[in-house]
Symmetry: C2
Subunit: 410 residues, 2 copies
């Protein structure tokens, strides 16, 4: 029986439609299962786009393409293939990107460099180009305003549920919709736009403003989640604004107070998706929040929280419901950032396990064990050096993760 | 049934005795199993000592003690407890170190700061001091010249076999013996003296010379092995020279050619022990050699090899016998060191999987799969930037690793 995340929602959240966006998702047999694996979003003329990509130095062909066209700032379509990442596929990989975007551009009537592309799935296995190119007519014909669920399903790989989120924001007394879809679920590390995440809004916003907002949102959301510390070749976060709802006032800066609610709601959508990705981490049994307080700098706090969140020993202990907080101390020590061993405090949820460098003898071990058996667990440390904090969201390391990744071929 | 490393030797290697060293190992019930967990080595007057320790910032009390006494350069005893690391145990932890070394010093007639101490096992759980202090009379009484196997057994934790190695070296036409013992088996990362490893020789060598040689040997051995990327609070590598065999010529520098054979054989002993530690990595099913060639600097080569060796996705794939070399490309990309995507080459053993940034279509997939099913696997990359290389030895990530560490309490 396949492993299903215990955090999978019973009902998929309702996705609010975004004016001007039409979508479709079909099967082109990149996934051996025959499930949908090719997604298209068509966007109206005037759509602006912003993006954040993996920091990997072995980026996939689709990422290279998107980075090269992003400065143009406009988009008319997004195509996504799942089951094969088209990464490290050399000249053939880039040729396929060029042919795919060209074929879609011809059918919807735009330039190829107005077509964004993303891929996810197995790395370093060439795609037979007829699989994608032969499916494009059907893909374009099936575009529809209510194709959101088709889209969210067709970008999944080892995800055990589709991921979407929507909010309504106010810009100068007008309501705009923000809807996004994302997919996980392994090879996820912070410090970049992680995995595939596509956000659409009907607001009318300049591409430069959109990019500045997206950069800030990314730092607050995807930069703080980690599944296994591995970094994908394909991570892509794209934000499209169809421009169907123009603000009544002129907006010339991303810092304009008129955009506060938009940025707040966009952050909520992206954070919601980022945490959905964590809650569907490969083999997950526990959702873990790791906080580092008392650091000298935010960078130190982030590095220490990440060292805890990515330690295989900490993650294995959490999976076993073991209150083995000594491993948290180990992970603090290995981060290499300034800490005070004499002032170090460690909490498991509400339980102070150690303070002033000494184990807390008064801790209620029965209550701690009951806490560790919960599906959601918080780890916090105070490293006693200053006032800065950071939080990372992650999941545990289980035998199921290993089994999924020992066999993963799709 | 407990997991036993498939690389466990059928017969333990013979340990050559070292003149002047007496050893013992007994049970003091730190291990719930009742197996031996307290080791003592007595050393003659005139013994010099060198050491390398974990780079963790949350070092255990025994490490703090050894670092503080090391500048003295002389030693009369080494005591090691297994099953409890005495790490992050605050003032009580350091008090126990002081009482233990003092009690041993009294019985063998030396100063407490001539007694080295090391610990391994669970972190952050206080030791009841009578467990160790009450066992010291029996521990000292049982010291014997042939106590090597007792010693190597009593420092084990999750190790599935005891680890030892011996060589004979020549210094100015005299034969000296080098014998060592070590223990693993999780929480092991490079860049420092990893785990517990104690080496003894009957050569007469100045402490400063000994330390210079040990630093060089460490860089070639323990600095290049990794189990899971986690860094222990307790890692300790100590080298004791009892001085029973004085060189005929005067030696005043660690670079003296008269010491070449000694350094070579010492490197062999430590490397042998380091690889034994990897071959007994928690839950191991495959022994993996990762090499990075063509890097701009040695540091780059080391960082890239380490990124591959510590990637949970690469390690899971290796465990599953999966030739999923795309994950190797991913790990190269996430290392953040300069590489040429266009010149990147990837090998699985003798099989060139990709070159010039393109998958190799001519590779014999049947032969590759047969290769991946072997118990020992090599991964190599050439990143196309220069002439520097590095090699890391590691093991795979298996469901057994997770299960051991979900439950590990001893």
């Amino acid at each position: 029986m396949p492993h299903i995340s215990p955090f999978a929602p019973i009902d998929a959240p309702k996705i609010l439609p975004v004016l001007g966006v039409r979508l479709n998702g079909i099967a082109c047999n990149l996934k051996p299962s025959g499930r949908p694996d090719l997604m298209l979003a068509e966007l109206p003329e005037g759509t602006t786009v912003a993006g954040v990509f993996t920091r990997s130095l072995t980026t996939a062909a689709p990422v290279d393409w998107c980075k090269s066209i992003l400065p143009k700032g406009s988009a008319r379509a997004l195509v996504v293939h799942a089951g094969n990442a088209n990464a490290f596929t050399g000249r053939r990989g880039m040729a396929l990107v060029e042919k795919s975007t060209e074929a879609i551009a011809l059918r919807i009537g735009c330039a190829a460099d107005n077509v964004s592309i993303a891929g996810t799935g197995i790395i370093a296995e060439p795609i037979r180009e007829e699989q994608i190119l032969g499916s494009i007519p059907k893909l374009v014909e099936g575009l529809r305003d209510d194709g959101w669920e088709l889209a969210s399903h067709s970008i999944m790989t080892t995800d055990t549920y589709p991921k979407s989120a929507s909010r309504v924001a106010e810009i100068s007394d007008q309501s705009v919709t923000i809807s996004g879809i994302a997919k996980g679920a392994g090879m996820i590390a912070p410090d970049m736009a992680t995995m595939l995440c596509f956000i659409f809004t009907d607001a009318k916003l300049d591409g430069v403003i959109l990019q500045e907002i997206l950069n800030r949102v990314n730092l607050k959301t995807f930069s703080n989640v980690s599944i296994d510390g591995d970094t994908s070749t394909n991570d892509t976060l794209l934000l499209f604004a169809t421009g169907r709802i123009a603000p009544k006032a002129s907006i010339t800066s991303s810092a304009d107070p008129l955009l506060h609610d938009f940025e707040k709601k966009l952050t909520e959508v992206v954070m919601d998706l980022a945490l959905q990705v964590v809650r569907d981490g490969e083999g997950i049994s526990k959702f873990i929040t790791v906080s580092c307080h008392g650091a000298r700098t935010e960078s130190d706090a982030h590095a220490i929280a990440r060292s805890i969140a990515e330690s295989p020993l900490v993650k294995s202990a959490m999976g076993g419901g073991s209150p083995n907080w000594g491993r948290i101390v180990m992970a603090v020590g290995k981060a290499g950032r300034p800490i005070s061993k004499e002032r170090l405090k460690v909490w498991l949820g509400p339980h102070l396990m150690a303070s002033e460098g000494d184990p807390n003898d008064d801790v209620d071990r029965v209550a701690v064990q009951a806490y560790m058996n919960q599906p959601e667990v918080s780890i916090a440390v105070d490293v006693g050096m200053g006032e800065k904090s950071a939080t990372i969201w992650t999941c545990d390391l289980t035998a199921a993760y290993v089994e999924i990744n020992a066999a993963y071929k799709t």
